[in-house]
Symmetry: C2
Subunit: 224 residues, 2 copies
């Protein structure tokens, strides 16, 4: 289902979906922007990862993660069924390939919240000579001072966790050149508009607009 | 000079300009969209071609074209000073390279109204392993019937000229796959919004945002 961006009389051109990667250091605004994107665009779906870690009481299986066993993870990985995977504190996190391919085939976009290492794995599978099904955006904070105060204002973490997030932020920011687009989140509304423009533009890339082929055939076949 | 797209407090990130190619068959809406783009964005400049044909009374040298001699054209071409050139009805038309490079260096975008052959030449010079300074958009009409009635409504051409434009339209449309983005102009406002999103997104490509390097250096250099 496509999103109506203009007057309802506009031609509905069938399209292939894309994977949109939003990456940023913790606190740079990625989650807020993701939420707004999913809210505005029904055909943008949040990717739900699988994980081998224990479910927390507040989490719902299938919503926050698909909680799976270590054995199942190993089978998925060894069977080539994972688009990307990582290990964090001894637990595995991964994106299964099949739901992504299905989404792209039916014209839905999949929003990924992953780091630079996950992004490199996604490029390997979805960006080849035969296909380019991914676009990646890195969101920078305007300054480290601003990043720190956002983390403190969120009041979600203890001071030592915030300190660690700031150290990790450097590691993530150092990989900024691996991303297609880079935006600075100095103003949330402005940053959201930028991400929105990128999504809309990427949807207009010729190779994704599979419904144009019949339209062009009609144009070229029409008796003048 | 960059265009203010959001609250004036936003960081002004220095950027490299891009060449934005708008191509379409005559009557598909390219001129209207170009005019709106130049009006909305002060840093989008219309590229002024050189030509060896005679100036028409209504035309102004330096505004519609730079009118030059055949000798000068030959010298420019043989000296490698042309970004692209074509011959139409025995006259030469071309885009000099130097003003384009200057615009890109200072962060202005250059809007090109050229056909697919000109586009291929621009790719050759501006899209290499070392640089990607161009984005191209093809504008399709929603149908040939609609294209015909727009040309008739414009009342600019005699019936035989319209007939020839429709034949040429087919030749242009047949090359649609050479363009990065393709939009259908079934609704002018919607089509303009699409071109606008593409311009904004292309400006956010990491490689063009040269002002991010000092920002990232600051972020990575800040004592936490």
């Amino acid at each position: 289902m496509s999103d109506q961006q203009a007057a309802p009389t506009r031609l509905n051109i069938r399209r292939r979906g894309l994977v949109l990667i939003l990456a940023s250091p913790s606190g740079a605004g990625k989650s807020t922007i993701s939420r707004q994107l999913v809210q505005e665009f029904p055909s943008v779906k949040l990717s739900v990862s699988v994980t081998t870690r224990q479910r927390r009481p507040s989490e719902i299986d299938g919503k926050h993660y698909h909680f799976i066993s270590k054995d199942r993870f190993t089978r998925l990985r060894d069977g080539g069924e994972l688009l990307e995977y990582a290990e964090v504190h001894g637990n595995n996190y991964a994106t299964p390939l099949e739901p992504v391919e299905a989404a792209l085939d039916r014209g839905d976009d999949m929003l990924f919240d992953i780091d630079w290492q996950g992004t490199m794995q996604v490029y390997e599978k979805l960006r080849t000579p035969e296909r380019n099904d991914v676009a990646s955006i890195f969101i920078l904070p305007p300054s480290m001072a601003e990043l720190r105060s956002r983390l403190e204002r969120r009041a979600e973490d203890k001071p030592e966790v915030i300190a660690r997030r700031l150290v990790n932020a450097r590691t993530e920011i150092a990989q900024w050149e691996k991303f297609d687009y880079v935006i600075v989140n100095d103003d949330l509304d402005g940053a959201y508009q930028e991400v929105r423009s990128i999504l809309l533009a990427e949807r207009l890339k010729r190779a994704r607009r599979v419904g144009l082929n019949p339209l062009v055939d009609d144009l070229l076949g029409t008796t003048l």
